[in-house]
């Protein structure tokens, strides 16, 4: 769907590099996470796709076509710094933004009503934004972003400022949109908030892409073959011989439950067979790194 190749963007006449040789490929109908700390270059990249600024060099293609003003209509953008007109009614506001995106007035009206039904907010149509609570305004903000049925949805820090209830509601809508064929790019520095939604991620740090790919693959790549184990009714003499054969650490004994971590490259089934002799196995799971951990590892590997 979207292909960015070797994007470079600098500010202050080249003194500050925002993006350096940045390339990603966002497949159609997927949720793509751009993850990285503040100032990594995420917003710069997003503004380039939205044609608010231009890249110094490199190329972006959407469905094979070089990025051009016609694409604007096909993009729904929710910036990090967002808001709406306080003195306008919700209805007028939606029609205005719809028309700015090239919709016919009637079409915008129909689509807005549809969303209002979906989010159960149809009684707000005639209210001014200043009369709505923050949570309500956030829903309107989302409707503004998706009203013109964009094929590409770009959400910059989508859940910042959202309360958990609204955040979940919007998450469900985003997943719905993906299932209906919309491609979604999420950008955030709070990696834990989106990692379970994303199909693909790209990690950005200091204007460079560190790693990208399917979420599963990225995590697999950084897993360290560590297993977390909990046992009860432990036979302590057997435990000693077990410890001599495996690398065991983080031992903790609480409420007659023994828990520890174990690093092993060999077959998990062998470990399990050995464990059965030590005590009753309460839990056994492989420790897959969170995106945060992946990021920290990737950054330290890179530098």
């Amino acid at each position: 769907m979207l292909k960015a190749e070797h994007i470079r963007k600098t500010y202050n006449a080249g003194k500050k590099v925002a993006l350096d040789d940045f390339s990603i490929h966002v497949p159609k109908a997927s949720i793509y996470g751009l993850l990285g700390p503040n100032g990594a270059g995420k917003t710069s990249f997003i503004r380039i796709i939205n044609q608010i600024t231009q890249a110094d060099s490199g190329e972006i293609r959407i469905n094979g076509q070089p990025l051009n003003p016609d694409h604007i209509k096909d993009i729904g953008y929710m910036p990090e710094e967002r808001g709406l007109y306080k003195n306008m009614t919700v209805g007028d506001q939606l029609l205005y933004f719809g028309e700015l995106k090239g919709m016919k007035k009637n079409d915008a009206l129909q689509e807005a009503k549809k969303w209002f039904d979906k989010l159960h907010i149809d009684q707000w149509w005639k209210k001014k934004l200043s009369e709505l609570s923050k949570g309500m305004a956030q829903k309107i903000q989302f409707v503004v972003t998706v009203l013109h049925r964009p094929h590409l949805l770009i959400l910059d820090e989508p859940f910042s400022g959202f309360d958990p209830v609204n955040a979940n509601l919007i998450k469900d809508q985003i997943i719905d949109l993906k299932n209906n064929g919309t491609t979604i790019i999420l950008s955030t520095h709070r990696m834990e908030s989106v990692e379970e939604m994303c199909d693909y991620v790209a990690l950005i740090n200091n204007s460079k892409k560190i790693i990208d790919g399917r979420v599963f693959d990225v995590r697999e790549k950084f897993k360290k073959n560590i297993f977390g184990i909990t046992l009860s009714d432990v036979d302590h003499s057997k435990l000693e011989s077990f410890q001599s054969r495996y690398e065991v650490f983080n031992l903790a004994n609480e409420n007659n439950l023994l828990s520890f971590d174990l690093r092993n490259e060999a077959d998990q089934n062998h470990i399990l067979l050995d464990l059965v002799n030590v005590g009753k196995v309460r839990s056994f799971d492989e420790k897959i790194p969170s995106m945060n951990e992946v990021f920290i590892n990737a950054v330290s590997n890179n530098s």
Partner: protein, 436 residues
């Protein structure tokens, strides 16, 4: 183009629908009239009405000291002097007693130096001056009479005249003082209207830009439209708001004038000046016809054309500066140091224009009405007096060019400025945005 239209429409509708706009538009003329009446009343309330009793020991002044609305002379018999003096202190209806001593050996100087005004409270400076002038006038006439000149001969000496000026470049038209006065009033009026509108509505453009920035709505909009379209839509929207207000006010004044028209002839009677009582109704009517005559003699199509051109170009020129200012700062208090750049040139133009009354075609008038920063107000101030066509053309070309350049410049500042949150730009940074 469609985007600019949508933005203009939104800007216009939201501003016009605001309660404050409706109230201000409807009430401003009433407020203005009310304010004017209050000031008028204040002047009237402060006018003193003094009653002075006069003890005239010669009978020289009787029938010559003339009472007016503000100062009333009451002649009392000389015999009552003592009794009057005794009661003066407690007499609130009386302001003072003027004692004019006897004339001895025709020595008027001695009479004057012995004249006394006894008062029971403070007396206004104006009233005192008036008494002095009145006495002097009587003495002067007496002295002249002594010289053997008859009163009507005397009146003959005092006759003034008006110098008739004929302008060869305007079909040998007579250029009377009255016509010049009419032009001056028209010139000041048009200039002041332009000045006020540019400032009031320029600031409105700035506020509107700031509002979008503060609402954080701006990035959403410019992901759909170009920053330049947003800026132009805003300026045009506010222009329409200004024109709407203009039309409402003109309609209201016309209706007001029609309603008040019946009472028109009574208005000049209240004019201050002293001798209005002498002015007959005929004079007023004649003056009215002369004013309308001089008005009709003006080249109105040209004046209207120049007014519209300079008003709109000047307004767009300054609005784009205001839009750029709005985009470069974060809140209204920060705008102050920058708005100086937009207000100062206009002020120079306006105060400079006051000198046009003396010499509309002088070098100051020429340069102020040619330089684009001041020409919107200065050319409008000059136009009723008549301006050579080449100067108008040159000024329009320069103003148009600078306006386009200013929009371009403002667009560059605006494009970067609206996405800068949280820090006020310095002039150095703005210069970087313009170059970048």
């Amino acid at each position: 183009m469609n985007h600019i239209f949508l933005i203009t429409k939104r800007e216009f509708l939201t501003q016009v629908k605001k309660k404050s706009f409706i109230i201000l538009t409807l009430l401003a003329p009433l407020l203005l009239i009310g304010f004017g009446s209050v000031i008028g009343l204040m002047f009237k309330a402060n006018e003193s009405h003094s009653i002075i009793e006069v003890v005239d020991k010669n009978g020289l002044f009787k029938n010559h000291l003339k009472s007016t609305d503000q100062l009333k002379y009451v002649f009392v018999p000389t015999a009552d002097e003592k009794a009057k003096m005794n009661t003066l202190k407690n007499n609130e209806s009386l302001d003072g007693i003027l004692i004019l001593p006897e004339l001895q050996n025709g020595n008027y100087e001695q009479l004057l130096s012995n004249t006394r005004l006894v008062i029971n409270n403070k007396i206004g400076f104006d009233t005192k001056q008036k008494i002095v002038t009145d006495i002097n006038e009587v003495i002067k006439k007496e002295k002249i009479k002594k010289l053997g000149i008859a009163e009507n001969q005397l009146d003959n000496l005092d006759k003034g005249f008006t110098l008739k000026t004929i302008n060869v470049s305007e079909n040998n038209k007579e250029d009377s003082d009255l016509a010049f006065g009419v032009k001056s009033v028209l010139s000041m009026l048009l200039m002041y209207v332009t000045f006020m509108f540019i400032i009031i509505y320029g600031v409105r453009v700035m506020r509107s830009v700031l509002e979008e920035k503060n609402n954080r709505v701006v990035e959403i909009i410019i992901s759909s439209v170009k920053p330049f379209e947003l800026m132009m839509g805003k300026i045009l929207g506010v222009t329409l708001v200004a024109l709407t207000q203009f039309v409402v006010w003109i309609t209201m004044s016309v209706i007001g004038a029609l309603v008040l028209n019946t009472g028109f002839s009574s208005i000049p009677k209240n004019m201050p000046g002293g001798n209005e009582a002498m002015m007959s109704k005929f004079d007023i009517l004649q003056m009215g016809t002369q004013i309308s005559h001089s008005l009709l003699e003006l080249n109105f199509p040209l004046i209207i054309f120049v007014f519209i051109i300079f008003f709109l170009l000047g307004y767009i020129f300054y609005s784009s500066i205001y839009a750029a200012i709005g985009s470069a700062v974060d809140n209204e208090t920060e705008t102050q140091q920058f708005t100086l750049f937009a207000v100062l040139p206009l002020m120079v133009g306006m105060y400079g224009s006051f000198t046009f009354m003396n010499n509309p075609d002088g070098p100051l008038g020429f340069w102020l009405s040619i330089i684009p920063f001041t020409s919107p107000v200065a050319m409008i101030a000059r136009i009723p007096y008549g301006v050579p066509a080449w100067q108008i053309a040159l000024s329009i070309v320069l103003l148009l060019g600078t306006t386009i350049f200013m929009i371009f410049l403002a667009g560059k500042i605006y494009r970067v400025g609206i996405l800068m949150y949280g820090n006020k730009a310095t002039l150095k940074e703005i210069w970087k945005w313009i170059r970048g």
